[in-house]
Symmetry: C2
Subunit: 258 residues, 2 copies
DNA sequence: ATTTATATGATTGACTTCGATCATATAAAT
DNA sequence: ATTTATATGATCGAAGTCAATCATATAAAT
């Protein structure tokens, strides 16, 4: 029997809501909860998928509500192995009771990943990256703080003038940064606001460490960040040979290759 | 054939990673991507589910990586209808170019929901609630800012001394708050640090508005927040009769019932 | 009031997935 | 070197899911 359009819409909204809450629901569950037949449930799910509200699966559907950070995640996959190795080396720098700043990039996110599964405790972690925040929140022994500022969902990062102001509220023992490019002159990044925050943090940290995988060698990025003399350590999977060939020569204690 | 345990573990980690990226993958896709048989894929998925890394579905699996804010979502469902009505009434208070503060509770989240689908633009929104932040980020005409501070994932909220400091970085035209209880004396909340932030914001806003559904009438909460004379408006679904019966009497222009 | 359009639920056959079982290959233990 | 343990892939019957089709009831249009 035909039914008022509003009734249909309300029901589909309810299904979308249900899926936002439960992430996944089998078809039978949808039928049971709404008291509708398989056929109607199927039709509703198909319609909702057409409107990009959910994703159908064989036997049910998943909600799209939480599909954020997608572009960030894609970048996470690049050079994932090198990033993981660098991150594990970086763990050695972190000691219990430190206040550690974790930068917004994907390489530094690997450190958060490593920290989540174990490492020195207790720790105070400060970050402007919300994926890092998610990863490390509610972990025993880690107090997680975020900076203030404008939230940019695509990059999962908090930026802006207020971010710099709030970055000054802490004193860091160690700051772990990423960068988009490294050349003989130093380290570069793509966004001016990102660099602004990084420089602000660099001024109030005891130790400044950069984690940069080899793919960033010879890459180019428009905004100059810091020169080699400004940093305490570079951790990379690029070999000393390749680095010096690119004109990057650092004292032994400032370079960790892995 | 038996295979080194590390190989198995690495493969399962890879599947979990893949699911974190794609949220949902059908079994056949897992087989294809890893070059393994259905049987092995099934066994891997079962093992991963046992470790609470993923959730199995009929025909595939979904990643658990993003299942956050769950307890907050549950509270969202309570009195959902009243919250929605109150939120829609609150929309009228918001005018283009305002700087609006949105509090951490579930009632205020309904305002974010309403704002997301339409309303006055442009707006500057400031919040300490990350689910509100998610909801309103990347929306044309809305600049979304978050406060600094310690991130408490269960409540999806940012709190602490630094939160108060960063709350003072803005001047608000309008602040929308929730509360856990209302009595003749005024409004109450459960957590001292939540109240601390709310009071800080209340001091730097032109207009202080509370959105409280009827279920909070007669409820009790330990921390006193503000008395009725301190606020500019109360929006509630409780009737004037019921309110006055509870000893709450407000001037007409300060009370919106819906 | 009559007609038209369509939302729903039931049915059916084709297709897919599942769990159990088994043979086999290889890592780990002895 | 030999034995033991187990990870893997193949197979198969059972159970579940899907898309298509159809009759029907009711909203919307006339």
């Amino acid at each position: 029997m035909k039914v008022a359009y509003e009734v249909v819409k309300a029901r589909r909204d309810q299904i979308a809501q249900l899926l936002a809450e439960h992430q996944y629901l089998p078809l039978a569950e949808v039928c049971a909860r709404l008291g509708i037949s398989e056929a109607t449930a199927r039709r509703d799910l198909t319609a909702l998928e057409r409107d990009h509200a959910i994703t159908r699966t064989y036997g049910g559907a998943v909600g799209d509500y939480n599909r954020r950070f997608d572009s960030f995640r894609e970048r996470l996959a690049q050079s994932a192995d090198a990033k993981r190795r660098i991150a594990h080396a970086a763990l050695d720098l972190i000691k219990p009771r430190m206040v550690v700043y974790l930068d917004g990039g994907t390489t530094v996110h690997a450190v958060a990943d490593a920290l989540a599964t174990g490492g020195p405790r207790p720790l105070t972690v400060v970050t402007n990256n919300l994926m890092v925040a998610e990863r490390l929140s509610d972990i025993e022994g880690i107090e997680l703080n975020v900076l203030a500022g404008q939230y940019l969902r695509r990059q999962a990062v908090i930026l802006g003038a207020k971010t710099q102001t709030s970055a000054k509220l802490w004193r860091y023992d160690l700051a772990l940064f990423g960068a988009e490019a490294m050349t003989a002159r130093g380290l570069w990044n793509t966004q001016a606001d990102v660099v602004a925050v990084e420089r602000t943090v660099a001024k109030s940290t005891k130790s400044t460490v950069f984690l940069v995988d080899a793919s960033k060698l010879g890459a180019s990025a428009p905004v100059f960040l810091l020169s080699w003399t400004d940093i305490d350590k570079l951790m990379t999977d690029a070999s000393t040979d390749v680095l010096s060939h690119a004109g990057i020569v650092l004292p032994n204690r400032s370079l960790v290759t892995c």
